[in-house]
């Protein structure tokens, strides 16, 4: 079941539909006061999701953990820290307290481990999905990109045929890398849209989607044959057929960075900071020990 779910995620585009903000007519004057793109920008999405995730994860942690034991473990850790400060002239206390802190940390992590498992599984899957939207950007019209195809036999590299849609053109001859069993093309897409590039090897066809857009899209940088876990984490397309000589097809989408406070960074850092802040606020508000 797990596999089928993951595979479904690999193809679904409805899990995070990310519709454009459409204000009803009656609300238009009010909505007009705001820049609509503010709400659909990657930054806004990451911040909102961080807050929601911060809340959900803290609640989930609270329900699945032994709150009393965690509180005692944390309190004891703090006590041993204070002991180092209070009795700093007593060398045996300092050394003993440090040992107790290490033991206490182990106890605390042990107590946090099981609830973390409950928390980690859904959030990891969520992050994987988010990464498909936010990790890389779609290709811009007229921007060149590389298509890398890996085959199972270097001898078949010469027989690989590329079939491009009319909106995509090849801008340089293919480069063969026999050691890697790879062949690389430099291509350029001229119009926005979702296209499929096909290759034919030894009578087998394989395709790879390519997205050309200026908007937030669900992207799949690589299509793989087999490799269940890798597909789950890195691909958003169905697996290549088992009997295909093509092992993988990859497009080098540009990395997406989000600007905040004058710094460009990967979305995960913003998610990290904001979900931590949200989690901290919600754990205090809800009185949950983490």
């Amino acid at each position: 079941m797990f596999r089928s779910v993951c595979e479904d995620w690999g193809t679904s585009s409805s899990l995070f539909p990310l519709p454009k903000f459409r204000a009803p007519a009656s609300a238009m004057p009010a909505a007009a006061m705001f820049n609509v793109s503010l709400f659909t920008s990657p930054l806004a999405i990451v911040v909102v999701l961080s807050i929601v995730v911060g809340l959900l994860m803290v609640v989930l942690f609270g329900y699945t953990s032994n709150q009393k034991a965690i509180k005692i473990a944390k309190d004891q850790l703090k006590a041993h820290l204070l002991a180092v400060r209070l009795f700093q002239d007593q060398l045996h206390v300092v050394v003993g307290s440090y040992g107790r802190i290490l033991r206490g940390t182990g106890r605390y992590l042990r107590l946090a481990f099981m609830p973390l498992l409950y928390v980690i599984i859904p959030i990891t899957l969520l992050i994987v999905q988010l990464d498909r939207y936010l990790g890389v950007a779609a290709l811009e019209p007229n921007a060149s990109f590389l298509l890398t195809v890996k085959v199972n036999n270097p001898d078949s590299l010469d027989g690989v045929a590329l079939d491009l849609p009319p909106q995509i053109t090849m801008t340089a001859p293919a480069v063969h890398i026999p050691v890697e069993r790879e062949i690389v093309w430099r291509l350029t897409a001229h119009q926005e849209g979702k296209y499929e590039i096909k290759v034919a090897v030894s009578g087998h066809d394989a395709g790879k989607s390519v997205r050309v857009s200026r908007e937030l899209s669900r992207l799949s940088p690589i299509r793989l044959r087999g490799h269940f876990w890798e597909r789950m984490f890195y691909s958003a397309e169905p697996a290549l057929p088992e009997g295909s000589p093509v092992e993988s097809m990859a497009v080098n989408y540009p990395e997406r960075t989000i600007g905040i406070a004058g710094y460009e960074m990967n979305w995960i850092w913003i998610f990290f900071v904001f979900s931590m802040i949200a989690g901290f606020i919600f754990k205090e508000l809800l009185g949950i020990q983490v």
Partner: protein, 729 residues
Amino acid sequence: MNSRCAARLCARVRAGAETHTQRKKAGGTRVLLVIAILLAPCAAHAYAGPGAGFAVLSSFWAIFVAFLYSFYALMTWPIRQLFRFLRRRNAYGKAKFDRAVILGFDGMDPELAERFMNEGKLPNLVKLREKGTFTKLRTTFPAISPVAWSTFMTGVNPGKHNIYDFLARDTSNYLPFLSSAEIKGPKRHFRIGKYSIPFGKTQIKGMRKGTPFWHWLGKAGIFSSVIRVPVTFPPEKFPGVLLSGMCVPDLKGSQGTFCLCTTRNSNGKFREGGVRVPMERRNGACYSYIPGPDSPLAETAGNEMRVPFQVHPDAAAKKARFVVGPEKLTLKVGEYSEWISVEFKAGLGFTAHGICRLYLKEVSPEVEVYVSPVNIDPGHPDLPISHPVTYSIYLAKLYGPFATLGLAEDTWALNEHVLDDEAFLAQCYSNHEDRERMLFDALEKTKQGLCTCVFDTTDRVQHMFWRYLDEDHPAAREVPRDQRPNVIPELYQKMDRLIGRVMEQIDDDTLLLVVSDHGFKSFARCVNLNAWLHQNGYLSLREGKSESGDWFDDVDWSRTRAYTMGLNGLYLNVKGRENQGIVDPAEVEALKIELQQKLNGLKDPASGEVGITGVFITGNVYRGPYIENAPDLIVGYGAGYRASWDSVLGKVTGQVFEDNIKAWSGDHCIDPRLVPGVLFSSHKFVTEKPHIADVAPTILTLFGLAPPSHFDGKAWSLAPEPTVGAAGA
């Protein structure tokens, strides 16, 4: 390499791996996936939510801070040791011991101790008696804990430390105030709308003068751990750690105000130390509240903050479910809760943090819940109760919340029959166990220096259970003698076992002292000295009155020459000193002698026994700069007698002598010569008639320090070790 590249690289490396290996892995347990997620250096998987973030950050932070602290401590340790070595030339250089451990057992009586030792009940105290010293320890005038422990720590008489009783009187209005500390709100307030916002800190002023001997030790570089010694609130700075004891107030600022929440129709306060709060029944549940301190934002007093709670009684199961803020708990009838955190919110972010315990008294036909006095939360102290402030936090984190109130054992609740014997004892021993844990922690932490801890349990239990020891006590006449519990012998045995455990942790380089501030006697008969003064023309009431209210309500000061309040002090109404004084200063000495002569030997008409065995003019027993704050006379009651409950509260009644029928049935606020304390020591001392003031100079001397010249106590000498030849002879 940025994180995304790392992710891509990760994918590539894995894509290049053998297919069959991947399949094998894919078929592995799902838990391995999570571990892999945690370990994989891929951006999208490096972070798994705030739960993991907090866990990792907290752990890392704890280790990091601990490492920094430890590193700092270790790096600077040689330097500090060098300083300590140089300073210790004056202290440890001549010290006879590495460590002194002083166990203070408040109120341990030498006669009872001797009796129980001779009955074989106290084997560890017998060991101390045989190996070291056992003797009576003379106490202060009066023999009251705050007075005696102040002398214990400062080595001076009350005229130099300024503590004469729990209470002192305000000469401007004849009302009492707490003698040990004065707590005032911030000086300035500013108004915002309906709020009056305090600006600045709460002002806490210690009234005890003199310097505790651990300060002198600290100056010489000797570390001290001081736990629950009375009259150490507010805590003072010194090189060591200290947890304040007796005289620490509750969150309301009182010395302990319990609360009885009840569905019974009854109104008003208890006579002593408690309030009744109505409990309202609605839809099968009962609703009440825990009364807290007055709001700091209110302009006028009496704006009490409250924490509401619900009780859902289950009469059939004799239990009830409680909801107190975020806490939910279930108690059986006759069961205490753990300490519960309560926050009294005044608004604008002003919150008072307290802890209290609930005790379910009854669920049918009525519902009654006892709420202990709301103690200052040691983990979040709104007033300083330790030095450093972090010490109480440290103890609270290590062992959980604990009673911080000075008089934590709720004697008033037992007196008022709100708690029964069993519930009171459970409360006492619960507090006692907390203090034992603190003591053993201090022993572990203080391998060199001073470690002292005072246990109140001995005092409170003897106060409340002496009626079962006294064959004919008025408060226990209804209890057949063969059904009286052995509470006090068991108490002494408990303390003996504690001493045994302490002795296991010390060696010959540690001096162990067991001291008490006073002994104990029965309190069977009450003496209303105000009534005697009234009957003998020294105190007058307003026309038409035969009795007064509390605190001299209806006393005619223009015709009153003497009055009493508190436990042993008798005051003259001196012109120019008291607000409405009438006694000419030139007549003061003569009046003192007159009262001394008349009261000394005062007999109880019911039995013919002497109710007052000594009256002491304070000018003769005190010396020091604060003698002007002392009472004019100290009244020493005879064994079996004490100031009446009304007299203590400044009330004039019709009768001078009456039976004491309260559970508070033993006392020590009598003639100090009748209630000396105990002194046990692990090493033999040569001393005659040791006094509690001698402890401070003795400890200083044993650590090689010269006691300050203003000390009144004299250091005891260690007995010479017997030589081999002498031992053989």
